[in-house]
């Protein structure tokens, strides 16, 4: 079933790429999507386990973009003002997120958020290390990030 959703999605991508939403192009897209999936899915379990999250991921994109704009303004300010006001540092964020998708999404979002940049995940996947531009108030930052994580988990569970 997950595969089927994936396949539909790929068919849609195809149709978008070719720019024609005719039945023919959707069928063609479905066929090609199927071929690709049949091929990739031979490492199956990995592909399918999170595939149903894809719609949510796409839905989340808008949130993502908003974060992006916000963070840019902040950075722009920092870049354009003549002196630096930053208090940078690397902090470790304990994770509640468990799946790959959750962690990845969180990390990417954090990178997009104002003044933070994901560095790496610990090998046991229980901690995300983050470079931040402003760590005067570490607790506030921590809380902010945890809130983001909560939203990601709820979206991708």
């Amino acid at each position: 079933m997950k595969m089927f959703i994936w396949n539909i999605l790929l068919a849609l991508v195809w149709a978008m790429l070719t720019g024609s939403f005719t039945a023919g192009s959707l069928v063609a897209g479905f066929i090609f999507g199927y071929l690709v999936l049949a091929f990739v899915a031979r490492l199956s379990d990995q592909t399918t386990s999170y595939s149903r999250k894809i719609p949510e991921v796409i839905g989340f994109t808008f949130f993502y973009i908003w974060e992006l704009i916000q963070s840019n303004l902040r950075v722009a300010y920092e870049v354009l003002t003549p002196s630096h006001h930053m208090k940078p540092g690397v902090i470790g964020l304990p994770l509640d997120a468990t799946t790959d998708a959750q962690i990845t999404m969180l990390a990417n979002l954090i990178t997009m958020t104002p003044g933070t940049l994901s560095l790496d995940v610990s090998n046991d996947r229980r901690m995300l290390f983050i470079h931040a531009m402003y760590i005067e108030d570490e607790n506030a930052l921590h809380a902010e990030l945890k809130e983001l994580e909560r939203r990601v988990i709820s979206l991708l569970s």
Partner: protein
């Protein structure tokens, strides 16, 4: 109308790109530069792509524009993460006003292992077992 909208988006996008580039030059260390380039670059590039889609006003082109946007947004953070991580591990120097570095104390460079703080507290000098690589295994 489309043209005007496109023009505005285009100019904003261009401006963001310049800001990113400026950041790349002005910021004092690798991580801080990346804060600038990643965000400004992705947003700038995305906006320019949208401007393109708007200007041509054809579904086909718009889809291309969205595809570019999606791709930039999807890959940008991943790429940033990759460089930041690699840069960190190869010892790119931090700005002297950097306040703290939690990662350093958790890293076993020789063993190629990054501990979580929890793990450290639990007193595992070495990982008992490799954590599962991902949820697929």
């Amino acid at each position: 109308m489309n043209e005007s909208i496109a023009a505005v988006i285009l100019l904003i996008g261009g401006a963001f790109v310049v800001i990113g580039a400026l950041g790349a030059v002005r910021m004092p260390d690798l991580m801080l530069r990346m804060h600038a380039t990643t965000k400004a670059g992705i947003l700038g590039g995305g906006l320019v792509a949208i401007a393109g889609g708007v200007f041509f006003n054809e579904s086909e082109v718009m889809v291309r524009a969205l595809a570019i946007l999606a791709f930039v947004v999807l890959t940008g953070p991943v790429a940033a993460h990759m460089i930041a991580r690699a840069g960190y591990f190869t010892g790119a120097p931090f700005w002297e006003r950097t306040l703290k570095d939690d990662l350093r104390s958790n890293l076993d460079k020789a063993g190629g292992y990054l501990y979580s703080a929890q793990e450290q507290r639990e007193g595992k000098g070495r990982p008992q077992q490799q954590a599962p690589r991902d949820d697929g295994e």
